[in-house]
C-alpha cells in the first residue's frame, strides 16, 4: 500500500496496515488540533501592554469532555486491536491445516526444517547439536529420516496457512518479515508458534530484529513465497538431495 510501509505480502498485512492508518487518522486529527491550538493561542493571546489575562481555575465541563473523548476512543481501539491480536497471536489462533515448519535460530543464522514426506518432525535435542547437525536432530527417531534442513532460506507456499515453530539455541532472536508484518521473538527455552498466510509470490527477507550479538545486523535469510507447484518441486529436489548425501 501507500506511503513508506513496505509491500503487503501476507494476509495480516492489510489488516495491520488498516489499523495503522486508522490510528494515524485519529492521532493525526488530534495532532493537528493541538498544534494549531498552540500556534493560534501563542499568536492570539501574546502579551501586550494593558492586556489582562482571563482569571480562571478551570472548567469542569470542558475537562470532563476531554477526559471522556480519549477514554471512549481508547476503549474502542482496544477492542478492535484485541480482536486482531487474538487472531494473529492467540493460543488457539493457528489454523488446524497450517503447514508446519520449524525455524531454529542461532548466532547468527536461521535453520529451517521441513517434515518431509511423513509430515512429522524428528525429535530434536540440545545435546545432539553439532557442526554437522545444526538443529540437533536426534537420528534415533525414525521420523527424522526424511526431515529436510536448509540454512538461511525459508520456502513457503502461497495462499496457504503456514505455522513456524520458533526455537533458539543461544540468545533471543526475533523472526521478522517486514512484508508479512510478522514479528515474533525467538526465545531460548521456549517453542513459540507463529502463523501467517503469504499472499504474493516473491522473495523477501527475514531480519533478526532483537539484538543478538555481534553479527546481529547480518543475521538475515531469504523468504521465497512460491506457488504450490514450484514449492512442491523445490521440496522434491531437496528430498532427493538429502537422500543423495545423508547427514551423519
Amino acid at each position: 500500500m501507500s506511503g513508506w510501509l513496505p509491500a503487503q505480502a501476507s494476509s495480516f498485512a492489510p489488516q495491520i496496515d488498516g489499523m495503522f492508518w486508522a490510528i494515524m487518522i485519529i492521532t493525526g486529527i488530534t495532532f493537528v488540533l493541538v498544534e494549531i491550538g498552540i500556534v493560534w493561542f501563542s499568536f492570539a493571546y501574546r502579551g501586550r501592554p494593558g492586556r489582562q489575562a482571563h482569571y480562571t481555575h478551570g472548567n469542569g465541563t470542558a475537562e470532563i469532555i476531554w477526559t471522556a473523548i480519549p477514554a471512549v476512543t481508547m476503549v474502542i481501539l482496544g477492542l478492535v486491536s484485541n480482536g486482531l491480536w487474538t487472531q494473529f497471536k492467540g493460543r488457539n489462533s493457528v489454523p488446524a491445516d497450517a503447514f508446519p515448519i520449524e525455524v531454529h535460530a542461532k548466532q547468527f543464522e536461521w535453520w529451517v526444517t521441513y517434515t518431509g514426506a511423513d509430515g512429522k518432525f524428528g525429535r530434536v535435542t540440545n545435546d545432539s547439536i553439532s557442526k554437522t547437525n545444526p538443529t540437533g536432530i536426534d537420528h534415533s527417531d525414525p521420523a527424522s529420516n526424511d526431515d529436510i534442513v536448509v540454512r538461511n532460506q525459508l520456502h513457503v507456499p502461497v495462499g496457504k496457512p503456514v505455522v513456524v515453530y520458533l526455537s533458539s539455541e543461544d540468545v533471543i532472536h526475533s523472526f521478522y518479515v517486514p512484508e508479512f508484518r510478522v514479528r515474533q521473538d525467538v526465545v531460548p527455552g521456549m517453542q513459540i508458534k507463529q502463523w501467517f498466510v503469504a499472499t504474493v509470490p516473491g522473495t523477501y527477507e527475514i531480519a533478526c530484529s532483537q539484538l543478538c550479538g555481534l553479527g546481529h545486523y547480518k543475521m538475515r535469510a531469504q523468504v521465497y513465497v512460491q506457488t504450490q507447484a514450484d514449492f512442491d518441486a523445490w521440496m522434491q529436489q531437496q528430498a532427493e538431495k538429502a537422500k543423495g548425501a545423508p547427514t551423519s
Binding site: 481501539l77 486491536s81 527455552g189 539484538l211 545486523y217
Partner: protein
C-alpha cells in the same frame, strides 16, 4: 541531628562558617547537591550525545572512516571505521548514560533536590547527610559505568535493556568485565536512587511550611513527590534484577539460563516492571516543571489544577500495570498481552488531560515569550507527538509490525528529548538565577531554542518514516537489507541534522558557563513568579529561611482581578488572608 527541626535551630543563614570542602564538595546543602547533580548529569549528557553522534555516522555512512575515528583504538574503530562490536557498545552506553545518568539525574537528582525544599518552604531536606550519600553513590555508579568504556574487551554490548542470555553469558556477547561493571554500577545507582527518593518523600510529607497544604503545592512538587514514590518502589526491583544478573555473570547461577530451568522472560518481566515506572520517572517531573513554566508565561492560573494532580497520580498508578507492552512480541502469554494493551491505552487519558490543560492555561492568557516559556510550549507541542505515536505501539497488532523498529526510537526520543530534555532546558533557564544569582542570556536562549526545535524535528521525525519502512533498531549496517535501501537517504538526512543539532548545543554550553560569571545580576523575582523560592535572595543562603515562610494561597495566582500586580506570591499576606492553623508542636 539530621532532623529538619535540629537544622532549623542550627541554621546559620547568615553566618556561613563552613570550610570549602563542607560547602562545595561534601556539602549537605540541598542546593549545592542539586548543582553538583547538575554538573554531573550534564557531563553524562555530553558523553551520551557524543556516543550518539558516532552511531549516527555509522548509520548514515557505513563502512566509511569516521572523522576523528583514527583517535579511537584499533579495537574500536579499525582505521577509523567503526567495528560492529564498538557499534553495539555505543548503542548500549548511549542508552544507559542517557536514561540513567543524564535524564533521570537531571530530573530527579537536580530538580528534586533543588526545588522541593525551596518550593515547600523547608530549611533543607529531611536527611541532609543521606542526601549527600545519595549524590556520592551516584558518582560512584557513574564512574563505574564510565570505566567500563576503558576495560580491555570493552563496555557492555547487550543494549541498555540488557536482555538475557546475551548479557548473562560472556561467550554470547563477547564482553566480560564490561557487562559485570554495568550490573555493579546499576546496583550503586539503585542505592543512590532509593536514598534520594526516601529523602524527597519524607521532606514533602513532613517538612512543608505552615499553610502549604497538599493542594497548595506547586505541580512540580507534586510531580517530583509522585516520581519519588515511583523511584522508591521501582528501582529496588532493578537493583534486585541487576544482582541476579551479576550473580549469573560471576557465580554461574541459573536464574535466566533455560538449559537449567531458568527463565529468559523473567529478566524482561523484572526489567520492565522497573522500566515502565522508570519511563514515568523520566517524564512526570518534566510535566510538573512545564506546568510552572506555562502558568508563569501565560500569566494565568494553571487550568484544572486538581485534575492535573489526579492525572499525575493516575499516570503513576497505571504505570505499574503496563510494563508488558514492552513485551508484546516477546513470547509472553498473549492473554497477558491483551490486558497490558488495555491499561496502556488508558494511560493516554491522563496524558491527554494534561496536554489539554496546558492549552487551557494558554487560552486567553497574556503570554510572555521568555525562554522558559518557549521551552514549555515546545514541550507541549513535542510531547503531544511522542504521546500520540505511543498509541501506535500500544495497539498490539500494530506493535507486532513496528516493535523494535525506528518508530519506537522516534517515540522514545520525542518523549525523552522533546519532552524531558526540553523541560530540563526550560528549567535550567528558569531557575538559573536561583542557582547562580545571574541570568542566562535571553537572546542566546531563544536562538538555542529555535535551532534546537527545528533540528530536533529534522533528526527524530524522519525516524518515524524509516520505522514505518521496517528499519530495525541496533543494526550496524542497514544498507545490506533490500527493503531498507529506499529509505537510506533518510538516514543520511537524520545524521547530518544530528551533527547540526549537537553543534547548536554549543550555544547553550557557552551561555551556561559564560552567564555564570558575566550574566546579568538577577533581580529578586526575575520571572515575577509566585513560588516561595523567589522570596529568598539569589543564590539562596544555606538553610534557606531564618523562619519558615507562611503560605496563604495556591501557587498559580496570576492576573487576579483587582490585584495591583499580575502575580501574588504564595507567602504574600493580603488583608483578607487568615493565618493557617499550625500543626501542634508536640506531635500528639
Amino acid at each position: 541531628m539530621s532532623t529538619a527541626a535540629a537544622t532549623a535551630h542550627a541554621g546559620h543563614a547568615h553566618h556561613d562558617d563552613r570550610s570549602f570542602v563542607q560547602k562545595y564538595l561534601f556539602s549537605t546543602d540541598h542546593k549545592i547537591i542539586g548543582i553538583q547533580f547538575l554538573f554531573l548529569s550534564l557531563f553524562f549528557l555530553l558523553i551520551g550525545a557524543i556516543l550518539s553522534l558516532q552511531i549516527r555516522w555509522q548509520l548514515a555512512f557505513p563502512g566509511q572512516p569516521m572523522p576523528g575515528g583514527k583517535l579511537l583504538p584499533e579495537s574500536m574503530a579499525a582505521g577509523g571505521v567503526l567495528l560492529p562490536e564498538y557499534y553495539l557498545q555505543l548503542v548500549t552506553m548511549h542508552g544507559t548514560f542517557m536514561v540513567f545518568f543524564a535524564i533521570m539525574l537531571l530530573l530527579v537528582g537536580v530538580y528534586a533536590n533543588f526545588l522541593i525544599p525551596l518550593k515547600i518552604g523547608a530549611h533543607d531536606m529531611a536527611f541532609p547527610r543521606i542526601n549527600m550519600a545519595s549524590f556520592w553513590s551516584a558518582v560512584v555508579a557513574g564512574l563505574v559505568m564510565l570505566s567500563s568504556l576503558f576495560v580491555t574487551d570493552g563496555s557492555p554490548r547487550a543494549g541498555w535493556t540488557m536482555y538475557v542470555p546475551l548479557s548473562a553469558r560472556h561467550d554470547y556477547s563477547g564482553a566480560s568485565l564490561g557487562q559485570e561493571l554495568w550490573s555493579i554500577s546499576i546496583i550503586f545507582f539503585g542505592l543512590s536512587s532509593v536514598l534520594g527518593s526516601l529523602n524527597y518523600i519524607t521532606t514533602v510529607i513532613n517538612n512543608r511550611a505552615p499553610g502549604m497544604t497538599w493542594f497548595r503545592m506547586p505541580l512540580s512538587v507534586w510531580a517530583l513527590f509522585i516520581t519519588a514514590i515511583l523511584g522508591l518502589l521501582a528501582v529496588p526491583v532493578l537493583a534486585g534484577a541487576a544482582i541476579m544478573l551479576l550473580f549469573e555473570q560471576i557465580l554461574g547461577t541459573h536464574f535466566f539460563d533455560p538449559s537449567a530451568g531458568g527463565q529468559v522472560l523473567l529478566w524482561q518481566h523484572l526489567f520492565w516492571f522497573f522500566g515502565h515506572p522508570e519511563v514515568y520517572i523520566l517524564i512526570l517531573p518534566a510535566m510538573g516543571m512545564v506546568s510552572e513554566l506555562v502558568a508563569n508565561g501565560s500569566r494565568k492560573p494553571i487550568f484544572g489544577y486538581h485534575s492535573m494532580v489526579f492525572a499525575i497520580c493516575g499516570i503513576a498508578f497505571l504505570g505499574w500495570i503496563v510494563w508488558g507492552h514492552h513485551m508484546f512480541v516477546s513470547g509472553m502469554n498473549p492473554t497477558l498481552g491483551s490486558s497490558f494493551m488495555v491499561t496502556t491505552l488508558l494511560i493516554a487519558v491522563p496524558s491527554a488531560i494534561k496536554v489539554f490543560n496546558w492549552m487551557g492555561t494558554m487560552w486567553r492568557g497574556n503570554l510572555r515569550f521568555h525562554t522558559p516559556m518557549l521551552w514549555g510550549i515546545g514541550f507541549v507541542a513535542m510531547f503531544t507527538i511522542g504521546g500520540l505515536s505511543g498509541i501506535f505501539m500500544a495497539a498490539t497488532p500494530v506493535d507486532m509490525y513496528i516493535h523494535d523498529t525506528y518508530f519506537i526510537v522516534a517515540h522514545i526520543h520525542y518523549v525523552l528529548v522533546g519532552g524531558s530534555l526540553f523541560a530540563i532546558f526550560g528549567g535550567i533557564v528558569f531557575w538559573y538565577p536561583k542557582m547562580f544569582g545571574r541570568m542566562m542570556n535571553e537572546t542566546a536562549g531563544k536562538v538555542h531554542f529555535w535551532l534546537t526545535l527545528i533540528l530536533y524535528n529534522c533528526v527524530f521525525f524522519p525516524m518515524h518514516i524509516i520505522g514505518m519502512a521496517g528499519h530495525m533498531r541496533r543494526i550496524y549496517d542497514p544498507t545490506i537489507y533490500d527493503f531498507l535501501k529506499p529509505v537510506q537517504h533518510w538516514n543520511v538526512f537524520i545524521s547530518i541534522s544530528a551533527f547540526l543539532l549537537f553543534g547548536t548545543q554549543i550555544i547553550f554550553f557557552l551561555n551556561f558557563w559564560l552567564s555564570m560569571f558575566w550574566g546579568k545580576k538577577a533581580a529578586l523575582n526575575p520571572w515575577e513568579d509566585n513560588g516561595l523560592e523567589w522570596s529568598l535572595p539569589s543564590p539562596a543562603p544555606h538553610g534557606n529561611w531564618d523562619t519558615p515562610p507562611t503560605v496563604y494561597r495556591g501557587p498559580y495566582e496570576f492576573s487576579v482581578p483587582g490585584a495591583s500586580e499580575d502575580y501574588i506570591p504564595q507567602n504574600k499576606k493580603l488583608p483578607t488572608d487568615r493565618e493557617p492553623a499550625l500543626a501542634p508542636a508536640h506531635g500528639d
